[in-house]
């Protein structure tokens, strides 16, 4: 029988041994892992969008690891995504990006959510020369900073409004007056301003253009005013909550128009379900749509396969945010495999050179880092389902007029 002291000693020795072995194992693991940093607003007002983006990253990581990992010069590396919650607070997004690079030793970065935070955080990744892919930044102000290490998978905002206006001009000649109502927020306001420009360029009269404050609980006064101007096209921007509320109040006030466009709500399945009958014939545009049919060279392959994998994992329909996040992962994988190295500059150069079809669409980045190869789809809700109207290659139906 062992003496109590030696018993204690052997216990400590065993613990120490385990710790050493454990450390060794984790060191060995760390060497075979590529770490991707993803600063996201996982709590706070932007949480719903961030959680979706996280689903996209996770799906890619899962698929990449299932296939054995990313192959770099004949050696397979597992994918690990490091998340930091910046609580919907942009200055914290910048800190989070810096912390990931300097303390968590991530190899590559995903951009923060939306244009504003992605732009702010990109200064850090540029400083440390870490290639960064922004999944949800569309405003050109993000890309005109002359940065070399920042790339993004959303085309500029006007690529959404211009095709839409052209379709309406051609197929709804009675549309003469447009009313625009925008959420006073970076992206919703920017897209409304593009709409204003493209309406005027197409000879339409903009009879109303106003912004509403973030968190507005009631739109009745605004809508009464719009109704009194009798526009044939009503264009409203905001997020799911705002647009559901506006749509409900439009029905309440019996506002009818030939065309009603809402960006970005109808791109989300939860909007269509919540709006029910009132979603019928709403038009919208987004950067990607599950109805697209691309045969990609990335890990997901075809759009159908991506949609299927997404449905199997999350039991819901993917939207453009989730798809964009997943394609960012897939693009990193392509660039790293082509570079055959984890060297920042080599991977950066491969990203800049990319000219490839993915499940998300053709991907090629312009000199400023923003994608310039996509034709964002225009669609309409018909029979509680989104029907693609543009581009012609994936067109599923004709524009229907009249929103009651």
């Amino acid at each position: 029988m062992l003496h109590p002291t030696s018993q204690r000693f052997s216990l400590i020795a065993a613990l120490a041994m385990t710790a050493v072995i454990g450390c060794g194992a984790s060191l060995a693991r760390a060497a075979d892992v590529i770490r991707f940093g993803a600063p996201l607003p996982l709590t706070g007002p932007l949480a719903p969008e961030a959680l979706k983006q996280q689903q996209g990253y996770d799906l890619w990581a899962e698929q990449a690891n299932k296939a054995g990992g990313i192959s770099v010069g004949g050696k397979k590396y597992q994918v690990e995504i490091v998340y930091v919650d910046y609580q919907s607070n942009t200055p914290r997004a910048v800190q989070a990006a810096e912390q990931m690079i300097t303390q968590d030793n991530v190899n590559f970065l995903f951009g923060a959510f939306g244009s504003g935070a992605a732009k702010a955080a990109s200064t850090v990744s540029e400083k440390y020369k870490v290639p960064t892919l922004a999944a949800t930044a569309s405003s050109s102000q993000v890309y005109d900073q002359g940065y070399k290490y920042l790339f993004g998978t959303f085309t500029p905002n006007d690529t959404l409004t211009t095709p839409l206006t052209e379709i309406i001009r051609k197929q709804a000649p009675d549309v003469k007056k447009v009313a625009i109502l925008a959420r006073n927020d970076l992206f919703p306001l920017a897209i409304a301003q593009e709409m204003d420009k493209s309406a005027k360029a197409n000879g339409l009269e903009v009879v109303y253009f106003e912004k509403y404050a973030i968190g507005t609980l009631d739109h009745s006064a605004t809508l009464s005013q719009i109704k009194s101007l009798a526009p044939q096209w009503i264009f409203i921007t905001g997020y799911t909550n705002d647009l559901l509320l506006v749509r409900k109040q439009m029905v309440d006030q019996e506002i009818k128009a030939s065309v009603v466009t809402m960006i970005a709500g109808p791109a989300y399945q939860d909007f269509i379900e919540a709006a029910g009958q009132s979603a019928e014939n709403l038009t919208s545009a987004s950067w990607w749509h599950p109805a697209e049919r691309y045969d990609g060279k990335d890990i997901f392959g075809s759009t159908e396969n991506f949609v299927k994998l997404f449905r199997d994992k999350y039991h819901s329909e993917p939207d453009y945010g989730q798809a964009s996040a997943a394609v960012c992962g897939a693009l990193f994988q392509l660039a790293i495999e082509r570079a055959g190295s984890l060297d920042h500059d080599k991977v950066r150069d491969e990203l800049a050179k990319l000219d490839v079809v993915t499940f998300f669409g053709p991907v090629k980045f312009g000199a400023n880092g923003q994608i310039n190869s996509l034709d964002p789809p225009v669609f309409q809700i018909q029979g509680a389902k989104p029907v693609v109207l543009f581009p012609p290659v994936i067109k599923q139906g004709e524009l229907k007029l009249g929103v009651n």
């Binding site: 709590t43 007002p45 949480a47 719903p48 959680l51 109502l181 006073n184 106003e210 912004k211 509403y212 404050a213 968190g215 507005t216 609980l217 009631d218 739109h219 009745s220 006064a221 605004t222 009464s224 005013q225 009194s228 799911t240 909550n241 559901l244 509320l245 409900k248 109040q249 029905v251 309440d252 006030q253 019996e254 939860d270 909007f271 919540a274 709006a275 029910g276 009958q277």
Partner: protein
């Protein structure tokens, strides 16, 4: 015609605001507790109505029967077990406590129901009434009726019932009420329970009108706060007066200087009231 429509809009919206604020006003006025969990109670009430309609096909007007006692019990328990322990502490302590409780409830709701927006859509929908070109949605008319009814019931309760008179007595002079044999702890819990029940009922109604998500709780709380300051604390009809004033200012502001400045205008009004008339429109001195 537009002016008439704007006025009607403001009138029904004002009653909606009164519904949101009435429980908040009661708790603030009686207990001197700024109850930050109020907004989350409203959202929880909305989820309750949504669930009852979606899965048991119970329409919202019956959901009140479930919501009122349920929320009363929750509120009563919360006050009895937690808030009563710090009720005599400075107002910042109760503020912090309800802030913490709100964080817990709000995040629990996000965890349980996810952050997706839901909408209670009645089949068939209630629709709108149209008279001489002025349109009024029926669900908002119901809200107007409910706001008036709740104000009436609360007024009656505080003036005529034994419990109500005890609540008023505690509010006027806590120590004297104790000497008269009033069980102060129980009265506090009753008042808080009433506040919670009013929030739950308001939530059931909001489910008909607004999209439902835990993320909207701060909007409700913000409105309740402004309405109480404008209308005045310690007065039952204050919530109604404050709600109407706020809706009118927002409506006129939105139509004249644009919707993005309507909120600015309402908060400017709030500051003016705090400086010029801190007791609010119908409040009594000493409760500001």
């Amino acid at each position: 015609m537009l002016t008439a429509q704007l006025l009607i809009n403001a009138l029904v919206l004002g009653c909606l605001y009164a519904c949101i604020a009435i429980g908040f006003s009661l708790v603030w006025g009686v207990l001197n507790v700024i109850n930050l969990i109020h907004g989350s109670f409203i959202v929880l009430g909305a989820y309750l109505a949504f669930g009852l309609y979606q899965w048991l096909a119970i329409p919202p007007w019956y959901a009140w029967v479930v919501a009122a006692p349920l929320f009363f019990i929750v509120g009563y328990g919360l006050q009895r077990l937690l808030l009563n322990r710090v009720i005599t502490a400075p107002v910042l302590v109760t503020l912090t406590l309800t802030f913490g409780l709100d964080l817990i409830l709000n995040n629990a709701m996000i965890y349980a129901f996810k952050a997706d927006y839901r909408k209670l859509t009645l089949r068939p929908p209630l629709g709108s009434l149209s008279l001489f070109g002025v349109v009024v949605p029926v669900d908002r008319l119901i809200a107007t009726g409910l706001a008036l009814a709740l104000t009436g019931v609360l007024y009656w309760l505080l003036r005529r019932s034994r419990v109500g008179r005890a609540i008023v007595a505690v509010r006027l002079d806590r120590d004297a009420a104790v000497l008269m044999g009033v069980n102060v702890k129980s009265i506090y819990a009753t008042a808080f329970g009433l506040g919670a029940a009013l929030a739950g009922c308001a939530g059931v109604l909001m489910a008909l009108i607004f999209p439902i998500s835990a993320l909207t709780s701060s909007s409700y709380l913000g409105k309740a706060f402004v309405v109480c300051v404008l209308g005045g604390l310690g007065s039952v009809s204050g919530a109604l007066a404050g709600g109407l004033l706020l809706a009118l200012v927002e409506g006129i502001g939105s139509a004249t200087i644009g919707p993005s400045h309507a909120t600015t205008l309402s908060f400017a009004l709030l500051i003016v009231f705090l400086i010029v008339r801190p007791q609010g429109l119908l409040g009594r001195k000493g409760f500001e």
